[in-house]
């Protein structure tokens, strides 16, 4: 960045045009020795010009670099600003979606709770209905058993009544036959008596069956 700087050296005393006078008879006393002239230093005018040029070039380069850098930073800043705006828009969009989803979730949760309540009620009702059906089945089965029982008892009672009727009829006829034994053969009477006893025995058996049914 920086070129030669500092004060330009002064040219120094000019050499004398004529030799100094020498005192007679001796060496010159206190005569100044001649100053050696610089052999590598450029002349002042020639050294100033390159430094200015370098400085000018550096200044131009600096300005150009600053311009490029500024443009780059400007565009980068614009890019980031646009991106930030896009991100904000995206975030707002998703925020709106999240808000909508949360609202939907709350509504769905509420519906779910209501549905759970309905399900519990339905389950309770199903269990109650199953129980009612089972009780009805038990009642029906019990009534069927009772009906069967009554049928059996009625049938047994009917058998008893029929057997008793037959027995009584037989006994009446046997009594009639025995009242006039001369008209009937003795063997026939004995055979008829046996039949009457068998019929009355059947009545006894029917009565026993009826009693067994009643005892069940």
């Amino acid at each position: 960045m920086s070129g030669p700087s500092g004060p330009v050296p002064s040219p120094g005393p000019q050499p004398p045009a004529v030799p100094p006078s020498v005192p007679p008879g001796g060496w010159p006393a206190a005569a100044p020795s001649p100053q050696p002239a610089p052999t590598d230093a450029p002349p002042p005018a020639r050294r100033r010009r390159p430094a200015v040029a370098v400085l000018a070039v550096l200044l131009v380069l600096t300005l150009v670099g600053a311009g490029v850098l500024g443009t780059y930073l400007w565009r980068t800043s614009d890019s980031w600003r646009d991106t930030a705006a896009d991100w904000e828009a995206l975030a707002r969009e998703h925020g709106a979606q999240v808000a909508q989803t949360q609202a939907d979730l709350e509504a769905t949760s509420s519906e779910l709770e209501a549905t759970r309540g309905q399900l519990a009620t339905a389950q309770t009702r199903i269990t109650e209905l199953a129980d009612e059906k089972a009780q009805l089945g038990d009642t029906t089965a019990a009534q069927q058993q009772l009906a069967d029982y009554q049928t059996r008892v009625s049938r047994a009672a009917g058998d008893v009544a029929t057997a008793l009727t037959n027995c009584i009829d037989g006994q009446k006829r046997l009594i009639e036959y025995l009242g006039d034994t001369s008209r009937y053969d003795a063997d026939d009477l004995a055979r008829f008596r046996a039949d009457v006893e068998r019929v009355c025995g059947a009545a006894t058996d029917a009565n026993a069956a009826l009693q067994r049914e009643l005892a069940r």
Partner: protein
């Protein structure tokens, strides 16, 4: 001359380093930041307990048994062990002229045949219709203090689920079973006979068959049930009345 070259090189390096430190342009904003694969829900509503109709497995496996005997009527409980087989007590199906089965939701299930075990108060009933659900039998008998859940039809009424704990093991007070039986404090009633006793995981650990005056219930342990189910000769056709 070499100093100038060095200085120029240094300036170039510094310029490149400065360029590297400059902010880069913003990357493009994606159209969506929603993950392509849906994440797994952090909490589930205990989906393992869901069933087609909201009833849990313990209720779905329960079966109500109506024993129509010769001049007698009784009810008991049972539970499915597979699609067409249920387990209950021997005394539940004894002296039967007809068995009528119904499920937790009131559906009738036609019974095909009943078989009873001679060495325990257990019976199996084959069904024509499919049973809704069947539980898993536990691998081992429960220990004292383990929780127990009884699912059945006490007094022949509604299906109930009652809880208790295993309080011990005793010799069968009714002499209906070989070996020891389990004692629990889970409340049961007449009609609960044949109910499944489940552990905390819903596995069968025993079959209710009796209770005493102290409201202690007695279970045929699952080990006995397993042994008998594995023995084809353990069950014989149940004698019918009439």
């Amino acid at each position: 001359m070499s100093r100038r070259v060095g200085a120029a090189t240094l300036v170039g390096v510094l310029a490149l380093a400065g360029c590297a430190a400059l902010p880069q342009p913003a990357p493009p904003v994606p159209g969506s930041v929603v993950p392509s694969s849906a994440p797994a829900p952090s909490a589930s509503a205990d989906g393992s307990q869901l069933s087609p109709d909201g009833f849990d497995a313990a209720q779905r496996m329960a079966v109500r048994i109506r024993n129509i005997g010769c001049g007698a009527l009784s009810t008991g409980s049972g539970f499915a062990v597979d699609e067409h087989t249920l387990v209950t007590n021997r005394h539940v199906v004894a002296d039967s002229a007809e068995l009528e089965l119904s499920t937790y939701d009131g559906r009738d299930v036609t019974a095909e045949a009943a078989s009873t075990a001679a060495l325990a108060d257990l019976a199996v009933v084959r069904t024509v219709d499919a049973l809704p659900a069947a539980p898993v039998l536990a691998d081992a008998d429960p220990a004292v203090g383990d929780p127990v859940t009884v699912v059945g039809y006490p007094l022949g009424r509604q299906l109930t689920v009652t809880d208790g704990r295993v309080v011990g093991a005793v010799t069968d007070p009714l002499n209906e079973n070989l070996g020891e039986v389990l004692v629990t404090d889970a409340p049961v009633e007449p009609g609960s006979s044949g109910s499944a006793a489940l552990d905390a995981e819903g596995r069968v650990i025993g079959v209710v068959y009796a209770k005493n005056a102290d409201d202690m219930s007695f279970l045929v342990p699952v080990s006995t049930l397993r042994d008998l189910l594995a023995d084809e000769t353990a069950f014989a056709p149940a004698p019918a009345c009439g």
